[in-house]
């Protein structure tokens, strides 16, 4: 733990940032033998910097093991950084005293991926949701009223306070987890794959709920997911991680329509689209090989062992020797690739844009949906605007 007692909180770089991450590194030592000597390190998160603006939803995507969860936990200090800093509302989280940290924790919450494992099976729903209220000495006296209010807020029957988690479906359990996170009226919530374990039709319910709550309370989210369509749906900006690095960051139009990192393009090209006509027209880049180990990441650019652009460019040397920094390549758009300009010029991964077949619904029903969407427009206003709600 290199966190020196840096009491003077350095100001965040971006004045609009609620969370500011600077050169964050989280390494896990691999200990072996009787003496538990360090045989190596898992470089789970390796020098990443980004900010989350007040009221925005930052989506974080990337493949298994690339460091999304580790990053998310570090942002609310459930994990201490090996190096680097995390500022929350201008305060360095590592500089806080215990009391300050406890008060700060009220402002930041997490929703976990697993709706089954994350709730204590022996606690009633009432005590699960009221637990954070007790920890933070909130709503004493009328705690159960508050719990009922929270349950109603997430669309559960408020009379279910005496039931146990096993009596609920996966989607309902995820709602309980959301109610628990909301109990302390946080400003910032890390949503770690909140819908991945749910069925398609239930995913949409929970996603809608998260959007509604965001608008109602002006919440800021870090939304971690591996489903790129879901992330596009909910995010104001999207970050892409690969092997402990943030390789691209920008608004969804940039990330999904003109990505500047070859990995982002490869990811997009791999996502199956529920549209047979579009699927038939797609040309995929299929990445060869597996994701390398974060214990011995490749030299230079970590993606060079699988990069299609590197191959196309005739294996330029600097890809193997120099770690490309995350740099500005467009309006609010950053990428970590020496050849981002070449990536921008290609159409790899974005061919799906040419073909937008109307999916699913028969025409008449589509028209009805169209009308319903029109009627629902006011709902959309205020999305992502700082300071709405509270």
């Amino acid at each position: 733990m290199t966190s020196v007692a840096n009491t003077a909180a350095a100001p965040a770089r971006d004045p609009g940032a609620l969370v500011d991450v600077q050169n964050l590194k989280i390494h896990f030592p691999i200990l072996t033998g009787v003496f538990q000597t360090e045989a190596g390190r898992v470089r789970a998160v390796d020098d990443i910097s980004f900010e989350i603006r007040k009221g925005e939803t930052l989506g974080l995507v990337g493949e298994s093991g690339c460091g999304k969860t580790t990053t998310g936990r570090a942002l609310i200090r459930l994990r201490n950084p090996t190096a680097g800093k995390v500022f929350f509302d201008g305060r360095d989280l590592m500089s806080l005293s215990r009391g300050e940290l406890r008060r700060m924790r009220r402002r930041m919450q997490i929703i976990f991926q697993d709706p089954y494992g994350s709730l204590n099976p022996r606690m009633t729903v009432g005590s699960i949701v009221s637990e954070p209220l007790e920890t933070h000495h909130l709503s004493s006296g009328h705690r159960m009223d508050r719990v009922r209010e929270l349950l109603a807020l997430v669309g559960l029957n408020p009379n279910y306070t005496n039931r146990y988690p096993h009596e609920f479906s996966g989607g309902q359990r995820q709602r309980i987890g959301i109610a628990r996170a909301l109990a302390v009226e946080p400003e910032f919530i890390v949503c770690d794959e909140p819908i991945s374990a749910l069925d398609v039709s239930i995913q949409a319910q929970v996603l809608n709920l998260l959007v509604e709550l965001r608008e109602q309370f002006g919440l800021t989210y870090l939304f971690i997911a591996h489903d790129l369509s879901v992330v596009r749906h909910i995010s104001d900006r999207v970050g892409v991680m690969y092997l402990g690095k943030l390789v691209e960051l920008g608004p969804p139009t940039a990330i999904y329509e003109s990505p500047g990192h070859p990995y982002t393009r490869a990811l997009l090209s791999a996502v199956p689209i529920p549209d047979p006509k579009a699927e038939r027209k797609r040309r995929r880049v299929i990445l060869t090989g597996d994701v390398p180990s974060p214990v011995n990441p490749p030299s230079g650019c970590r993606f060079h062992t699988r990069c299609w652009l590197y191959e196309r460019l005739g294996r330029p040397e600097n890809c193997r020797t120099e770690d490309p920094p995350l740099r500005q390549i467009g309006d609010d758009h950053r990428a970590a690739c020496h050849y981002a300009e070449d990536a921008l010029k290609s159409d790899v991964g974005v061919a799906h844009l040419e073909d937008r077949v109307r999916r699913g619904t028969p025409a008449a029903v589509a028209a009805r949906h169209e009308a319903a969407a029109q009627a629902a427009v006011p709902h959309e206003q205020g999305a992502g605007v700082a300071g709405t709600g509270e």
């Binding site: 398609v200 591996h226 596009r232 749906h233 996502v271 529920p274 549209d275 047979p276 699927e279 109307r358």
Partner: protein, 371 residues
């Protein structure tokens, strides 16, 4: 080792006559070839499932996991089986291979005819021989299906040895060939590795190699990529697609990812609560579905190519439990189009306009109220 090459041409659905340059290496290959040609002359289906019902006898009651399901698979075709968790996809697959855990499960009625053979009439010994030979399978979690104490090479070769009666040496050769075919580099060296030395994606490749070791006519893939990352998933799907084209193997692909079904399948069966509720060519299912559940599913997906979203449409409520279902449309409690008739009598799977398109819905039947 020419058997696989022979089959690759013989099995292709486009080929009706044997090309002259094909040398048939084994008696077995000749027999297969004749049978295939014969089947095609009579336009037989590779697989016909008729009125299949599989139930689980539990303390809470009888679970109607697969309830009077009928469908067919053509030679060389990829058929998708989609639907939400618990709708009966895996139990259908287990029934086809007669691997339903018993007790508590049992195939209670129906016929499963694979390439002219009624599987439910076979003795369990005959079934064991046929399994793995005519049907290859790939399951969701490759770690549980590979034996951790045996080498990768042994496990592939064993399958080839048992079913193709190859010598040890030939079987090993075949295993090396298969491993490189499924994209494992340095395949000869990796024969001696154990499953834990392989990544998730590589283990799934090994499963595919085992499944293909005997040139099956039908590959049953139950969520073959659910545990994998999207770039690895793309590799595995590409592999299944190219192998099925090369060998003419028919595939039943079980998935809850409608994007995968859209990209991989020629036809799709949509399951709900133990029933097939809609079936049709992939374009019809995705463009003009004829059942509120199917289009509800499609509508609830956020799209990769859509701007930051308006509210997603949802299907409210949960699937019913499968104990003693009533005579009603099983989707009616969640259907926004439901009328009284839907709650009084269950609709049958009846034909719709498209080719081989059928749906189970009163509302979209001719003269119905959803047009």
């Amino acid at each position: 080792m020419t058997l696989s090459d022979d089959r690759s041409r013989l099995g292709s659905p486009a080929v009706t006559e044997l090309p002259e340059d094909v040398t048939i290496a084994t008696e077995e290959g000749r027999r297969l070839a004749e049978q295939l040609a014969d089947n095609r002359r009579h336009a037989r289906k590779l697989l016909e499932v008729r009125n299949l019902s599989t139930q689980f006898f539990t303390r809470d009651g009888v679970v109607h996991a697969v309830d009077d399901v009928s469908f067919e698979v053509d030679y060389g075709e990829t058929l998708g089986l989609v639907g939400e968790s618990g709708c009966g996809k895996s139990v259908t697959a287990l029934s086809l291979t007669r691997l339903v855990p018993n007790p508590p499960g049992k195939i209670v009625s129906g016929e499963i005819i694979l390439d002219g053979i009624n599987l439910l009439k076979l003795s369990s010994e005959e079934m064991r021989l046929l399994r793995g030979k005519k049907i290859g399978f790939i399951f969701q979690d490759p770690m549980t299906s590979l034996n951790p104490t045996l080498t990768i090479g042994y496990q592939i070769a064993e399958s080839a040895r048992m079913h193709l009666r190859l010598s040890r040496k030939d079987a090993d050769e075949r295993a090396v060939e298969l491993l490189s075919k499924v994209g494992i580099p340095r395949s000869r060296d990796r024969m001696r590795d154990y499953p834990h030395q392989f990544s998730g994606g590589m283990r799934q490749r090994v499963m595919i190699a085992i499944a293909l070791a005997c040139d099956p006519m039908l590959l049953l893939a139950d969520e073959p990529t659910t545990a994998l990352d999207v770039t690895i998933q793309a590799q595995i799907l590409e592999l299944i697609r190219s192998l099925s084209e090369e060998f003419g193997t028919a595939v039943i692909l079980i998935t809850h990812d409608l994007g995968i079904a859209a990209g991989m399948c020629q036809r799709v069966n949509v399951m709900y609560a133990g029933r097939i509720v809609e079936t049709g060519m992939v374009d019809d299912i995705f463009e003009t579905p004829q059942m509120p559940y199917a289009w509800g599913l499609l509508d609830s997906l956020p799209r990769l190519d859509e701007q930051k979203g308006a509210r997603l449409r949802t299907i409210e409520g949960l699937p019913p439990d499968l104990i003693d279902p009533a005579d009603e449309c099983r989707f009616s409690p969640r259907c926004t189009y439901a009328r009284d008739v839907c709650r009084q009598k269950e609709p049958q799977l009846t034909d719709r306009v498209g080719e081989r398109h059928a749906a189970r819905c009163w509302g979209t039947e001719p003269g119905g109220w959803i047009q």
